[in-house]
Structure formats: structure tokens, C-alpha cells
Symmetry: C2
Subunit: 342 residues, 2 copies
DNA sequence: CAGACAAATGGTAGCGCTACCATGATTGGG
DNA sequence: CCCAATCATGGTAGCGCTACCATTTGTCTG
């Protein structure tokens, strides 16, 4: 005789308990839960009753081990506090909340090495799908993604060579559009102010530069950047640096909205008239851009939608219908406001 | 003879492969990886070599199943985009990045029902620890936490009756302190403006009310709240409502910094002098509070630290040394700035 | 130097679930 | 009315790992 029932597990009901109580085989319980269509109405009801009575909850670990597939979406973002990624993640969560999939977020801290490490960790679980921010994976990270054995969606940007699928937009075009808007509004000595300067910021800068060069107005001294993480207060400081370096500045395209807000505050403080003396354009169009005084022109990006669409694509691929369009460009919109209306 | 080696798993190296290659038993490999001290120097080296050569990565699902314990921290927060929780989560991630623990975040959307559901899901994995925001769990959620069989840390607030451990501060005291500061600065018709009004906001409101009543100045018409989620633009609207309702308002204590910023912008727009005509106090002390013009007085909370401390406590409990102080009050600090300096 | 004990290693038996392959019952076409 | 093709169900054998209990060897004590 075996030990009474003091399983190592700790006595939670198992599928075998449910099967016994419902008078069916364990496998039938498993099927009733995962593919109800394949079990007769009668048994399904019996099984459900047993599940309810026992309070049975399937063990996801056992499930993952037996099926060689965990019901987990791995998500890799470079920052948890940056509102931009938080919105993407929120979109992912909302899209997955009614599914059996759990979500595991990794924070790469903008580090390729950390990304590799996390990919290794995530991959070891055999996730159902991977969603990663950015398209600049290290060669080794890329290899990990290619061999992940699950759908992979790169988000935030679009580029020519997806590992699998992509959802995002062109940061280069965003930067160029923002800058062209300032040019059209009549600004000439337009600076670029950027913090963090991750690859996406670099491409926005490149877009800025392209627009300025096309207008014959580019000057390297107009560019003020730092690798330091972005913040409103940093925006203020960078703007002061920029002004000190280039007092004739009459416009700025900011890396993101935090920086733009910092610039606006410094303008208030220094009694610089916006938009008369300085035009300001931000990037992402956070809620506060429409409320500030003056309101700030910004490039609206569809962050939440990037999250929801990436999940939709991954889910379709899991279901066996990978979208034929593997690259989804959600674009952006320039939202003109008071900060550039002169 | 069994099938060549086409295991269902997909051919990744397993612990048995490593053991074979290193010429030891599987159990010894397992030990070498988890408790290196219990394996001799020699074998440890051999095993490490085999691991490296094969590129072996342990399967966390198998591990969790065999040991009845997943190396997962479950984290439940009401919002992913609210900077406050994002900071807590960041603290949790940073504290856990060098540990073997994975993190799983659940978004409760401020819903008790959703919290129960997620607790059920998380519990089914037998997590190593649970960190949940707030102290107002439903009775059934509380029962789930009590029976989780792992350390539990309630974060963001302190209260009298922890499930297990607690890290946070008193929102009531925070609200009272903010309001008393406005009173001391000479403001009299001080309004409360709040969005979302989750339990923590309610307690800040209660603190406001206590201070106002103590000064004999409380008037229900001074309170403007909405269940709508907080945002800068909402702050502006609520302030306009408050002013319409009570034109003699001379100060506002805002639910949070977003609201405060919205109030400030509306003051700019309506040419209301801050701090002369209106004093403003925010809550949380986000970076932008110090940069705005005028800078905004706020109650600084230690969000990142709440994250790191909660992990430290959970880790200690896992290691078998639960802290004797089960409630950790990290306090807050009133940061006086221009918005209340008259 | 016997006996006790610790340290290092290994074998066996699951953890709770599902893939895979039966099995028996039912259908339906010729 | 037979045989194939389906459907509903179940048994068995793992998935990859670790808990538990040996076993072996070396070391210490009296």
C-alpha cells in the first residue's frame, strides 16, 4: 500500500481526483477542459461539476512539461517606467486578459547583453510567443529569436528584415515629419534635443537631420544629446545647454514629450515666448501635451495599438494562420498645437 | 530499443544528457546547479564543462513540477501605466534581476474580482512569493493570499492587519500633512481634487478632511472627485469644475501629480497666479514637479524603495528568516516648492 | 581499532499533465 | 449486411526534473 495521499505536491486536487469523482478517465478530463468539443455533452457536465466541487485548477507547470509548450507570452521591453512601453504592455495585457496565456515581462534596461540573457531565460520555458521591443537585436539575440520555436513579434519600429513579424512605424519618418513641420511654420535654427538616444531616438535624429539638410539648414551644433535617461528635468537642462551653445535657436524638435515639457518650462522660467521666439515639437503625444500652456505640437504614436496588434498577430500565428503581411506599419500623426503656431 | 532520441520535447539537451557527458548521475548535475557546495570541486568543473558544451538550460517547468515550487514572483498591481506602480515594479525587477526568480505581473484594473481571478491563476503555479498592491482585498482574495503557501507582501500602504508582510506608508497621514502645509501657508478655502478615487485616494481625502475639520474649515463643496482614471487633462477639467462650484477657492490638494500639473496649466491659461491666488500641492513628487514653472509642492513617496524592500522581505522569508517587523512604514516627505510659497 | 557519523554520490519513484496509440461503439456507403 | 471510417473514451508512457532514501567512502571519537 502506498502512502495515504500525502503527495509531495501538497494535497491540491489533481486531474486524477477530478477523473475519479466524475467517473471518467483522466484524459477525458483533460480534453473536456482544453477541447470541449471532443467530449460528449453528458460527460462534460459531470466533469465540470467535479471540477467545481473540488475547486480544481490545472497546474500550468505540469501542463507545460507534458505538452512541451507553456501558455506564456514573453515580452521584452527596455524600460518599465517609460510611459511609451507601459502603453504597449498595457495593450498586450488587455488583449490577453481573456485568454489562457500568462505574460512574462523582461526589462532589458536598453542593454543588448541583458536582452540575450532574458531571451535565454524566456526561451527555456518554451513560450507560446515572444514580443520584443526594437529591431536592433545583437546577432546572438537574433539567433535565439529565430530558434525560439514560436511566433516572434518585433514591436515599436518597422524595418526591412523581420525575424518573424513586426508592428510599429518609422521613427525616421516621424523625426523628419516633425522637423519639416517646424520648417514650414517658418522656424530656421531648429535644434534637436534628445536623451537616452536608443536606436529609435537615433533614427528620429536621422530624420531630423535629413529634413534639415534638405532645407540646407543643418548644423551639428544644433544637436544636443545625452545618453542619460530621459526626464522632464533633463529636458530643461539640455535646452539650457542648447541655448548656451546656440543662442539664436528658434525651434526644437524633442526626442520625446518629457523633454519637450522640460523645454517649455524653461521657456516659462526664462520668459521666452512660445511659439513666437521658440517653436517646440515633442514626440509620442502623451496626454499632457494637449493640456499644457501653450499646448505642445507632437507626433502621435499608436503605442497601445502596437500592443494589441502584436498580440493579434501572434495569436493568429499560434492558431496556424500567420498573417501574410508580416510587417504592420501603424504610422503616426503630427498633431499641430499652439507651440508651433505663429 | 527505444526511438533514437526524438523525444517529444524537441531535442533540447536535458539534465540526463549533461549527466552522461560528465559521467555522473543526473541528481549530481541537479545539485551542482542548485547547491554547488554539496558537490565536489572536481565534479562541479566537469559538469560545468558539459553544461557549457551542450548549451544546457534547465527547464523551469520541469523544475517547478518536481519541486512543487516555481521560481516565480507574482506581482499584482492595479495599473501598468500609472507611474507610481511602474516605479514599484521597477524596484521589484531591479532587486530580482540577479536572482533565479522570474516575475509575473498581473494587472487588476482596480477590480477586486479581477484580483481574485489573477490570484487564482498565479496561485496555481505555486509561486515563490506574491506581492500585491493595496490592503483592501476582498474576503475571498484575502483567503487566497492566506492559503497561497508562500510569503505575501502587501505594498503601497500600511495598515493594521497584514496577511503576512507589508511595505508602504500612511496615505491618510500624507493627505493630512499636505493639507496642513497649505493651511500653515495661509490658504483657507482649500479644495481637494481627485480622480480614480481608489482606496488610497480615499484615505488621502480622509486625511485632507481631518486637517480641514481640525481647522474648522471643511466644506463638502470643496471636494471635487471622479471615478474616471487620472490624467493631466482631467486635472484641468476638474479644477475648472471646482472653481465654478467654489470661485473663492484659494488652494488645492491634488490626489496626485498629474492632476496637480493639470491644475497648474489651467491656472496659466486663466491667468491665475500661483502661488499668490492659488496654492497647489501634488502627491508622489514625480520628477516634473521640481521643473514646472512654478515648481509644485508635493508629497514625496518612496515607490522604488517599496519595490526593493518588498522583495528583500519576501526573499528573507523564503530563506527562512522572515523579518520580525512585519510592517514596514517607509513614510513620505513633504517637499515645499514655489506653488505654495507666498 | 570498532563504531558512529558526516560527506559525496547515485538510484528510484514520482510531480501532474498530455501525446500517442488503442479500443469499442456507431455510422454509412455499396 | 459487411467493412471502412468516424466518434467517444481510455490506458500507457513519458515530459525533465527533484525529493527521498540508499550506498559508499573517509574521518573522527573514545
Amino acid at each position: 500500500m502506498t502512502r495515504p495521499r500525502s503527495r509531495r505536491g501538497g494535497g491540491r486536487p489533481t486531474i486524477a481526483d477530478v477523473a475519479r469523482k466524475a467517473g471518467v478517465g483522466a484524459i477525458t478530463v483533460s480534453r473536456a477542459l482544453r477541447e470541449p468539443g471532443r467530449v460528449s455533452e453528458d460527460l462534460r457536465r459531470q466533469i465540470q461539476a467535479a471540477v467545481d466541487e473540488l475547486g480544481y485548477v490545472p497546474d500550468p507547470n505540469a501542463r507545460a512539461l507534458a505538452s512541451a509548450r507553456a501558455e506564456v507570452f514573453g515580452v521584452l521591453v527596455p524600460s518599465l517606467t517609460n510611459n511609451v512601453f507601459a502603453e504597449v504592455v498595457r495593450g498586450i495585457y488587455d488583449s490577453l486578459s481573456d485568454s489562457p496565456f500568462r505574460i512574462q515581462i523582461g526589462n532589458t534596461h536598453y542593454s543588448g547583453l541583458e536582452e540575450e540573457r532574458l531571451l535565454q531565460v524566456f526561451g527555456s520555458q518554451r513560450p507560446a510567443a515572444l514580443i520584443v521591443a526594437g529591431i536592433d537585436q545583437t546577432p546572438s539575440a537574433r539567433r535565439l529569436l529565430e530558434n525560439a520555436g514560436c511566433p516572434v513579434v518585433q514591436v515599436m519600429e518597422t524595418g526591412p528584415d523581420p525575424v518573424d513579424m513586426m508592428v510599429g512605424f518609422s521613427h525616421f519618418d516621424g523625426g523628419r515629419t516633425a522637423t519639416e513641420h517646424l520648417l514650414q511654420a517658418g522656424y530656421r535654427r531648429i535644434g534637436f534635443i534628445g536623451a537616452r538616444m536608443d536606436p529609435r531616438s537615433q533614427r528620429r535624429l536621422a530624420g531630423y537631420r535629413a529634413a534639415m539638410e534638405a532645407a540646407g539648414l543643418f548644423d551639428p551644433r544644433l544637436v544636443t544629446t545625452t545618453p542619460v535617461p530621459s526626464s522632464v528635468s533633463l529636458g530643461r537642462e539640455l535646452f539650457r545647454d542648447a541655448l548656451a551653445k546656440m543662442p539664436t535657436l528658434d525651434g526644437v524638435f524633442c526626442n520625446n514629450d518629457d523633454i519637450a515639457l522640460g523645454v517649455l518650462f524653461e521657456c516659462h522660467r526664462a520668459s521666452i515666448d512660445v511659439p513666437k521666439q521658440i517653436g517646440i515639437v515633442g514626440f509620442n503625444d502623451l496626454d499632457m501635451m494637449q493640456v499644457s500652456f501653450p499646448s505642445i505640437t507632437s507626433v502621435r504614436t499608436h503605442r497601445y495599438e502596437i500592443g494589441t496588434r502584436s498580440v493579434a498577430m501572434a495569436l493568429a500565428a499560434i492558431a496556424g494562420n500567420p498573417p501574410k503581411q508580416r510587417i504592420l506599419d501603424l504610422g503616426f500623426e503630427l498633431v499641430r498645437r499652439e507651440s508651433t503656431a505663429r
